[in-house]
Symmetry: D2
């Protein structure tokens, strides 16, 4: 599990006084970026190599409301990985008391610039697989 | 099914050249507002009456990319309804050719301002139930 | 002056209970798109022709708060125009009572994909200049 | 000058491949929050005390495009301060090479929950004035 921290922005709230639910998808995205970075893969590099990685599926369960200025952690875990797609799960957790704010899952595929499904080269695949395997061995021990 | 139309805003795109996936949750929300309005219930009125209606769950499957300036329809259907919660499904469809861009589901509960689960009064319940029943009878005929 | 109408989205509010001020820039953008469309120029076409039109300057004065579900009009006027840049002014006005919510100005330049300042071809220039001239003659009569 | 750092989010880009210009207003807001925090004033506390602080004016000049994943600094300086309003200026600067991405200014007033212009109590005023004076003395030395 790769964790990053951030703080709720004012603009992320809505008139119910809490974080608007769509923002969690943006936070999940930040978690994915951090996960791939931890694996040694920069999204800018992937795009320069001609890859695009559209989201094909997302789900989120909202457990507790986040408020303006709350500090939170985005915890990202890879659930499944192949040269054609990536599945992640996420927990957004309030710092301090560890309250779970939301949990979610996403699926990305890899495509080329024309939108055609594409497979990762070994270079990228091996970097990501290496972190994925290492994380799984930690979890299942 | 209640349908509203809109057009992709420039700001809704991202550097992959298509609509960022988080925007679909905003569009679903517009669909819910329109559904309740069609039932004679304004969200501003509900809030003035002390109700809040946080999203507890959302899921979305992305079928095809939406592009800047695409005209689309948000089609909203109520899946389940009680005094304590509402479940909706949505299809976002490109105008002109009817291509399905995304499909999703949400669940809302009703709470009071303090976040405590609350039940709708008969007045609101009956208005929404009336549209829900009417829609279901159309669908199942 | 070219006018389009829209309605405040729930997601556009913040915890002060009114529209977050950054959204007005998105609305101005919608006004620009509508203005150019009225001139017969589609942004998608301009981009396909290799033009990019980054904002170089924006200003906005906020007069009155917009609330969730308010219907409003974005009124867009071209202030200055050359083959190298466009200046617009905007008023966002609440429907019904005509209350001015905000007024603003923007400047765009034209660049190529590499970010180099570029000049519009006559084809695009003439279309936009034609609407600009027509509008000015109406205003100054 | 109070500085905070962040990184461009994927969702903050648009189809021109760079950060959408409206995001800078969100970044300025983060800068203001940080400035007030440095003065010992939390916005949540101000709101709990019945203050609202709507933006009445904003301007921004865009100097260079920010790209996805760029690390940047938001540098916030208070330009003027009274019990009735605050004026700030901002520079958004790319880390590493110090390239200025944008510069801007904002004005906030203080109102009560009903939107009526209000003056800060001495408690809040003195905290903010103390940082403001300290910063100005540094600048003018």
């Amino acid at each position: 599990m790769i964790a990053i921290s951030d703080r709720v922005r004012f603009v992320e709230t809505d008139l119910m006084g809490v974080v608007h639910h769509a923002n969690y998808l943006r936070w999940f995205e930040m978690g994915r970026v951090a996960y791939l970075r931890a694996a040694g893969v920069e999204l800018n590099e992937l795009m320069a190599a001609g890859y695009i990685f559209p989201i094909t599926e997302v789900q989120c369960k909202y457990k507790n409301s986040a408020k303006f200025d709350d500090e939170f952690e985005i915890q990202t875990t890879m659930l499944a990985f192949s040269k054609a797609k990536m599945n992640f799960s996420y927990a957004v957790v309030r710092k301090g008391d560890g309250l779970v704010l939301a949990e979610g899952k996403t699926q990305n595929v890899f495509t080329n610039m024309a939108g055609k499904i594409t497979r990762l080269t070994d270079e990228y695949y091996n970097k990501i697989a290496s972190l994925y395997d290492q994380e799984r061995s930690v979890t299942t021990k």
